[in-house]
Each structure stands twice: as C-alpha cells, then as structure tokens.
Symmetry: C3
Subunit: 468 residues, 3 copies
C-alpha cells in the first residue's frame, strides 16, 4: 500500500489513537497555501500537464538533485541546458531512469509526496521501480490527458481555498488578470517578491530598475522615486489579492540608515561603478526595513527567507542556470541581524514579519526567544530542506516551549510541484497531530485543547497570519 | 485534572512503568536549590504575598513576554514603568487578561509550572480560562491571605532543604542577617554575583567600585586593592552560607594576562576615559580567571552563565528596564573562550567551574568533551529557555554519552518565581526519570543503577557539586 | 545480563519486533572496517595482549579521559609520561581503579563496548564494579594468555572481512609486509594519512619532507618533486591494499590556487622562515585539492576528518603527549570551505570524497544538502564523540531526508581499541535497524526495503564506497 492511513503517526498504539482522532478533525480541512511557487499560467490557461516526466521529474529540483548526486547527468533527466544543448526529450525514457533510481528516495519526504500523489491521484498501489515503470507511466499519462486532471480541476480536487503565487514587481501579472477575467472561482493571489529590484547583485539590477521606472512612471534612479515605485507596485499586487511580500536574501541582515546615508547608499548601488559586496548587503538590509515601513501602511505581511547560498555549483549554474538543487544553507544569525528593523518596528502590533530559517540551530536559540517577545514577529514553518517529517518535529520541539504555537503561522508548502501540494499539507497535519498527541499522552496538554491547536495549525493560523 | 500523576513520563507503557518506579524514589526527596533569584526579603519578613496577579503575572518575565508577543501592552499587565507612568493596578483586571490568554502557554513549561502550583497549592482542578478566571483568583487570594501560605510556610511545604539567593558584592545582606537573627530554621544562603563591579559596561561601574571601596576599606581603584576587596566580600558572603559565585557575561571569554598587562587594563577600565568594548570584554574575561584563583583559596564554586544578549528591545528597556523578557541568546563559543582559564586551572581537582549555556549546539560539540576531560569542569543543567521538558531531554541526549552523568551537577531552578520551585524540580525529576527509564528499557543501563543515578540527579549531585 | 539481546532496540513492542527481524538479517554479516587505527603490528606478530588493563584501560582515551575528568591522575592509570616519570605499572592496580569508577560510564557508549567485549569474549555476566574487579581481571587475563585470544584469532572470531589501518607516508609498512609474507589469510590494508608531510604545523614538518625525499628519490623541496613523491607513496600504499587516503585538518578549508601561487606558497611553507598560521591553513587546503586530483588518477577514496582542536590541555600535552582525550571539537563550516575543491572536482563521478564532522549542526544544514547534490561527495558516519547511540540517531535523523541513505557510506569503527570493533559495528547495526524499524512502523518505508537498506548500511555501502 502506497499511502497507509496511519503513515507518519507515532508508532506507540496509545499515542497513535490520539493522533488519529486529532487527524480526523483536520485531515480534510481546506488547504490554505499562503506562500509558494506554482505557475499562475497553469490556472490561467488550464492546459493539460504534458506527461508524467514533465510533471514529476523535469521541474522538481528535489527529485533531479538526488539522481544527480548519484551520477545521473541532468541532461538525461531532461533538464534544459542554457546553451540549448541536447537533453533527453522522451518522457518515458526519463521516467524509466527515474524509476530505476527510486530507491534513492527511501526515507525522504520526496518519496512521501510522490507516493501520496501516485496513490490519491492515479490509484496506483505498487511502489514504483524499474519493473513497473512503464505501467505507472501509462496510467499517469492517461489521467493527465483527462479534463478532470487539468490544473483547475486538480485545484478543486485538492480542496484549495486559496493559493498564493510569487511574482517579481516587474511581472505584469497577466496570468492573474486572465484568471480573474475567466470567471473561474478558484482563489489565486500573488505575492510581492522584489529581489530583482532590491538586490544590487541580481542579474540586470540596473536594467530592472529602469523597467520598474517605465512601469510606474517614477524616477527609479532617485531614492524617493524608487521607494514610490515600490509603493505603486505593492498597491498593484494588492489589487490582485496579494497579502504579503517575500524576501530571499543571503542573510537576515537589516539596517536602518538615516535618510542621508540611505540616499547616498542608493546612489552608490545604482551608479555606474561596480557595487561592493558590503554595499549590496547594506542595501538589501536597508530595503527590508523600508519594506517593513511600507507594510505598516499597506498591511502586507513581510516574509524573510534568508540563509541560502545560491548556485553553489558553478558548473551546473553555467550549464543549467538557477534552482538546480545546488543551493546550500549557511549558518545564519538573527539576533544581531534583525535588530535594526526590530528597533524601529518590532513593537508594532499592526505589522507581521514572518521569519524562516535554513539553520535549525536558530530555532531554540534565537527565533523562538525573538518571536516569544516581539509583537511584530511570527515564525514561519520548517522550510525547504527541513520541510520533512523530522524537520517539522524538530521545529515544534525547538520552538514551542519558548514561543508557543500562536507565534507560528501554520504551514507553507512553498512548492512549484503542483501535485505535491496536498501531500505536503497532509504531511504537516500528520506530524503536528503526532506532536500534539504526544503532548496529550504525556499529560502536557488536554485533548480538547490539542484538537483546537491542530485546527489552528492546519488552517486557522495561516488564514489569520496572512490575512487570507 | 491539572497535574496528572503520569505527566511528562514517556508514553510507552513499559517505559512509563519503569519511569514511575524511578520517580517514586525521588519525587519526594528534599529540594536542594543551589542557584536562583528568589528574594531573601520574603524569608526575612515573611509577609503574605499580595495577590494572585502580583505573585504569578507581574514579576514573571516568562509570563508577560508571551502576552506581550501577542500584542498585550506590558502596562496592562501591571509591569511598572521607569517613568512612573500609569500601569494597571487592579490585580483582578490583570488576572482576567492573563486568563484570557492562557491558551498561549499550551506546550510551554510555564503552563506546567502554573498548573502544578494551581493544583498543589490551591487545590484547583480546572484549567484556567476566561470563564473561571474570577473563581481562580478568589481561591488563590484566599489562600495567600492565610498564615500557612506565607513564604516560610511555603518554604517548608516545598520541602526545601537549602536555597541559594544571588546578591551583588554591594549588597549588605541585611535580609540574610535578619533571617539568621530570626531563629527560623530554613536554610537560605547567598551567592556572590559580582557583575556590577567586574563588568565595566555595567551601569554605574565606577560608582560601584567606589562603594565597594567604602564597604571594604580597600583602595578599589588600585588593582591589588580591588582584588583584595573581592576577597573580603567573598569571605563576608561565605559567612552567610555562600558556597558559590556566579558570572553572567555576554560571552564565555576568559583571559589570563600577565600581572603588568592586567594592571594596565585595570587602569584603563577604571579611568575617566570611555572604556572600549574590547577592554570591557578583556576585563570581564580576566576577572573570571581571577575569580577562579580566589575559588582555589576559598572554595567557592564558580558558575558561568554566558551568552545572553541583554535588553535586545531598546524601547522596552527604556520604558520598563531590565529583565523584561527581551534577552536573547547568541551563538556561544566555549572551546577557545575558556582556554586561558583552563590552561591555568583546568587540571585543579579542588576547583569546580560549572558551565551553563543558552546555545545548545555547544552541548555535544564543546561542553561535554570539555567536561569529560578537565577535572575542574562540570556542566550546569539546561538553563532558562532550555529549562523545559524538551530542553532537558536534549541536554541529557547530547551530554551524557561523552560526559556521563557525574560531570553534571543536578538541577538548578534559577527562578525568581517562588511558587514554581517545586514544579520546576518536579519537571526535572520526571524528565530525568523518563530518560533513565528509556535507557533501562533499551538495556543500556540496569534499573538498580538507574535508581541510583536518579537519586543523584535529583539530590546528591547538587549537594556535592555545590558543597551544600 | 551484560549484553541483552534486545539492547538498543526501540522500546515500543511493535517497533522492536520489526527491528529484531531487520537485525537478524544483518547482525552476523562480516565486518568491513574501512577506516580505523588498529596497530598492524598486532596482526603481523600475533603476540598475546599483555593484560586486561593494558588492553582495555591504558591505551583507550575514551576510558581514561572520563576517570581523569573526575580527578584520577593519568599516572595512576598507567598512561606513560613523556619524561619517563613514574606511572602505575601493576595492571591489577590499574584495573581496580578502573572498576571503582565504572559507574562513571553509565549512559556512555564506552560502557556498551566494554560490556559487549566482557560478555562475548570472556563470558562475564556481572557488571564490573569494585567487588568483582579481581575476578574479572583474572578471567580476562586467563583468556588473553590463550592462543585463541591472540590478534589473528580474534580477527577471525570477529568475522572481519577486511580492515584498514592508517599510516603516514613515512611509514615503511613493514608490518603490512610481514602480514603479507606470513601467508595468513586475514585481509589488512593500509590507508594513506599524509598529515606529517602536508601540515606545515606538524612537528618536524621539514624533516619529514626530507625523509619523504629520501624514500622516494624525489626533490621534495620542489613542488613538482613533492607532488610526485606523494604519487609514488600513494602507489606504494595501494600495493598494500590501500583504497583511501585520510586527512585530519583543523578545518574543512580547501583551496585551488593557480600553479604559480601554489608554488610560491610551497616555497614559503618549506622555507626557513616561520610559517604563518594563514599559510599553514592555505597549504593544508591546497593539498586537499591536490589529493583530490591524485585520487582521480589513482582511485583512492579521499576522507576528510576536520574540526578537532587538538591538545586543548597544554599541561596534559606536555606531560603525556597527543591523543590523551583532550581534543575538543569546534564549529566547522563546510559550505564555504569545500567550495574550491568542489568547483574543480565536485561533479566528477569517478571521485569519492567522504566527509566527516564533529559539528552536528552541519548535518542537516550543510552536509546533507552538499552530499545530496554533488556526485563526488558522500557522508561518513557519526564520528568520535558522536559514534554513539544518540549520535547515530541524530546522524540518520538529520541527514536521511535530504541526502538519503545512498549518499552515506556505512559504518567506520575508527578505533584503536581492538576488542571494541565488533561491539561498535553491532551498536551501529542496532541503531540503524531501530531507525529503519521506526520508518517501517510509521509507514514511511516498506519492510522489504528496510531490510535491503539495513544490509547496505551494515555491509554493502562500505564495500562499495571504499572499493573494498
């Protein structure tokens, strides 16, 4: 059986019994997905997904990184090359290669997500492997060709109440407009991710600023015009449902320069001279504080996703570009880094800053103490490499005792892998119910309270924290 | 039921059965509290505690920080303002606000401590909430008015064999004198916490030195006079039962300068010029080594509590002062930081240095390897944010295999919240018994040994390590 | 009973039942020991071990460090002094002192290893303590005098299929030659550990280079000659079965200088002027990259064991020398440190670099993400202080979800304590089976898959990763 009804619940029979009861209350609650990277074009065009490999393998860096780590070339998995060089085009060939390496995913969340999708979407009951690769491929391909497996139908089948995508300020949001105009009832909102125009190290930063100026009619090479352009684009994003911004910086550094210094910095990073690493860091940090100031005005929730060293593998980046599974977390300080922003806005009760981390050592040491004190702070869920059963357990074990449950914001699936969305939320619900069941069985929490918390973690907190 | 007899014991029935047997041997052992922050005035004057809010909410930063993090102003919780500005004075109003937010403490140790006190001291059986806030308030208030709920009666009810308070060298110890003169049999000792006169960054450092000079008749602006003044005050503290000193520095840095450098440093930090951050750190670190030297002479156990960045929230500090729940741990190095002290005194078998940490990453990586080698080192228990069920489990899981149980020193409650003392010791005993029961059930330890260790962890080690 | 058949298996009856079935498949598989520090002279000469104390106490830093931490002088345990000063010579006296402190090892892996050896090798059934110290001593001593307790007999009794020792390039490998010439069938291979000739901070570095020159006929004071000397010695080591090199640097730093810079650096570190700490670090890091280049040619697996601050205790080092239990781990960066080597060789599928750590915070944050992407990387098992039940659990919990099982390399015993070898492998097999059993009972893995993984972790991965 691919998707056992007791999967991920604690093994102890008494604890499992409590966990089952808690899960029964939350397993079928609608999905609130306040942060993620699905493609709005899917919902706009509602075209069928092309084939099993292009749905499950080619776009999923969790999948192809594992095979690559064991010597499988990315080209053989159909991952496009920047130079247009040859890559495998036959979906079935890619699928067979994937199936032949399926054992690599033993013990990983990817395996859980895939098996969940295989079982619930396609009725598959056998574990994928070299022997049944073709059969699985055929069954999945047949389903994908059906109308009730197009994106909107899946969206409804997945019981998604609302999903946020993530776009650059330079995006015209045309797919979002098309969704709206289509009259379809699915709720898809955008989120404001301004990295291309706040990070001086981003490819084409100056060109991006020029484009931002064109889009807004502001002089984006003056600091005030630049800030005003952000305000306009944030308002535009809000008109497409955005309730949050998102910031993916190398560190959590924030700064709060005085206006004269800030203007001078802006001139340096937008001038013709090369931008120093220090100035780039300073500007990114200053912009986090500026974004917090704008959030106080327009109500967008500010998300900070720091700590990934992107594109660690130069050769893979040169050949295939970004998001190739070669991003690696680094040790991340929060206690000093966030202080400038918190000194200015930490006591605001109308601001919500959601902190994420790839450095679990910060959970108990820095993040829970900060979120357990500052009114403006909340903790995002276990993220990316830690969006996994053990990662989620560690998140709860290391944050709850200091920050409680109510300084956290429920689950984010954060994914571009559409069929994994229900699986990911389901994993989170199961792990949280198991964690709560253990508290109940150790008499640290009453079961009626645990049920209330379970509903909040599965549904209520995400809606409230993200104002959805 | 607020305080289930099996609370915190492992859920597995076999492990729980062993844990119950171990707990039965230690649950009612007397409390040895070698380090904490209760107010000696309570024991000296033996006045009734004013009201439930002023006992449980207003003075407890664990409590009010959590409500503050969710937007409740500290003023509404009766936390005094430095400027004398208005704060809520009605204990019942504070209590209702607290009760309305009691769900925030789900899954936290604060909840366990409060429920323990509510149940064992006041016979309360219902979970606190908005509906029963007044009833709880009335019942607690009635009890607090009774003579058998005054501090000394509670001290005896709590079965405290000995408790240490913590005082500055500038303290006259008049409450300790009053306790002694009263003829009451309760054993309350002091501990020597010289931060105000060893930390050049402490408010009023130079004035404090002058006062220290007045109290001791030493020239505290000469290094030798300054050191001699410490020796005299340590002797005075010993005459009030002190067996330890305590040091709460930002880092664990120690230094061992040669006498000429040390004198020059002393002149710099006590002169009229502003003291550099480097010199302040250097002097604090030098003084740890000097204190170790004095400990070799007078036998005081030296405790190091490093790694808190104090008063992270400038606005709250300005409005309410210190200890407002706004201290945040930082990454803390021990292996390099302690080396100068250890080079000089680490091999002394007559010295005991007890190390604490707020950075759990140091447990397995640095603290257990250090304590598992140096005769002078012992590990203090899980501290502050980590004084919690999960925190204690992680402490045992990450220190025992390298340092064993006998390089640890039993439990510290470290609290200023008097009614939480029995609860905190009880939590520690339960977690330790659960940890030991698991070792027994996995056949890593025999049950007779586990029982002996349980008694040592609950009672014997604290008495021996702290010479109480 | 000293060695319960269910020891270390999870306490839950259902999980334990699965774990037992998995263990039954792997408990008696042959031992593949790809990395360790046993003395090849034992296998060459096959002399009887001298006495119980000299087998179990005197040479084992895990044992004597714990007694030292509690005030027992190393001299009393027979640990030799560099100055030839008096130390206890009476094995029985040492043994009694050890037995009197046996309680210190409660909860430690040392206790498990010792009890395993006492039970399986000598039939002892009682826990060691002061009362039975002499009886244990006598029984062990009798056995050690027997022919079937000599090294080769134990090797066969332990079911060792192959064991690697570790030697310096300056070693003539005469014991290995003697083993080969003896015609004995035991497979003992060497491994290439060039610290004495790649670390400019190593005692006698320049003399070592000169000796390396003599041994190889190369001019080891020219960079090309020096590198060629390595190649020759690696080939010589390969002729004695070596399949790996090993590198124990203070950090994981690697560098990839251009040839001109590398030559200039080589001249600086081999010249007569004192070598700066920066240059020493730079050269060690450069040599890791050079060794990776050689590995691509000759196929040796490259092991990196970074992060120990050696000889932390100056007094103990002065009196007793290296490896006295006074090495302490430090925080260790991998993500930046390894990048130069990985930029050059990380995508090579014919290279295997095995990474170890003493800093567990790197498992989930850096090591699993790196090994889950780069084809050239694999993760070594939990090491040294973390070679323990809890340490192994943390290793699996923090690496599996991102790197899977197949980017790990099975178990290393890494020991110089011969009788602990079967115990250590047995502990690893039990912990892995318990971890897998939990995955099975939480329906995260099918039992047939778990059995296959168990066999790979116990046997297959080590053979394949180390090409043994």
């Amino acid at each position: 059986m691919l998707n056992h009804p007791d999967r991920l619940l604690p093994a102890d029979p008494n604890v499992r019994a409590v966990a089952r009861r808690l899960l029964a209350e939350v397993e079928h609650l609608p999905i609130v997905s306040p942060h993620g990277h699905t493609d709005p074009r899917w919902y706009a065009e509602n075209a069928a997904f092309p084939d099993p490999a292009r749905l499950f393998v080619v776009p999923d860096h969790y999948v192809f990184r594992m095979l690559y780590s064991q010597g499988v070339p990315l080209e053989a998995l159909g991952v496009p090359r920047r130079d247009g060089g040859a890559t495998e085009q036959d979906g079935r060939a890619i699928w067979r290669l994937f199936a032949a390496h399926y054992h690599l995913f033993r013990g990983t969340p990817t395996r859980l997500w895939l098996d969940h999708a295989f079982a619930t979407l396609f009725g598959l009951e056998e574990r994928l492997g070299p022997d049944n690769a073709d059969r699985h491929y055929d069954i999945i391909a047949e389903h994908l060709a059906r109308d009730d497996y197009r994106p909107r139908a899946l969206f409804e089948r997945f019981n998604i109440e609302v999903i946020a995508t993530t776009e650059s300020p330079l995006d015209e949001l045309k797919w979002h407009a098309m969704i709206r105009e289509s009259g379809w009832g699915g709720r898809v909102v955008t989120a404001y991710r301004p990295d291309p125009v706040v990070d001086p190290a981003f490819e084409g930063f100056r060109d991006n600023l020029a484009k931002l100026g064109d889009m807004t009619g502001e002089d984006t090479f003056s600091y005030q015009g630049y800030l005003e352009a952000h305000r306009k684009r944030r308002a535009f994003f809000k008109s497409f449902g955005a309730t949050s911004s998102d910031h993916g910086h190398p560190t959590a550094a924030t700064f709060d320069l005085d206006p004269v210094e800030a203007e001078a910095l802006f001139r340096r990073v937008t001038g013709n001279a090369p931008v120093s690493a220090e100035d780039a860091e300073l500007f990114r940090g200053q912009m986090l504080t500026e974004m917090a100031a704008m959030s106080l005005d327009d109500g967008l929730v500010l998300q900070i996703h720091p700590g990934a060293l992107r594109n660690h593998n130069g050769a893979v980046f040169a050949r295939h570009g970004r998001d190739m599974g070669a991003d690696v977390p680094t040790a991340t300080d929060y206690v000093h880094a966030l202080r400038p922003l918190l000194e200015r806005f930490g006591n605001e009760t109308d601001l919500t800053v959601v902190l994420f981390t790839l450095d679990e050592t910060a959970y108990a040491r820095e993040l829970a103490p900060l979120a357990g004190h500052y009114p403006a702070l909340r903790l995002g869920p276990a993220w990316w490499f830690h969006d996994s059963p053990e990662g989620m357990k560690r998140f709860r074990e290391m944050t709850t005792e200091t920050a409680g449950f109510y300084n956290t914001v429920g689950f984010n699936d954060d994914t571009r892998a559409f069929p994994s969305i229900p699986a990911r939320h389901n994993v989170a619900r199961r792990i949280d119910c198991g964690f709560l069941a253990n508290l109940v069985c150790e008499h640290r929490l009453d079961e009626d309270e645990a049920a209330e918390v379970a509903r909040d973690l599965a549904y209520g907190l995400a809606k409230r924290a993200y104002k959805l």
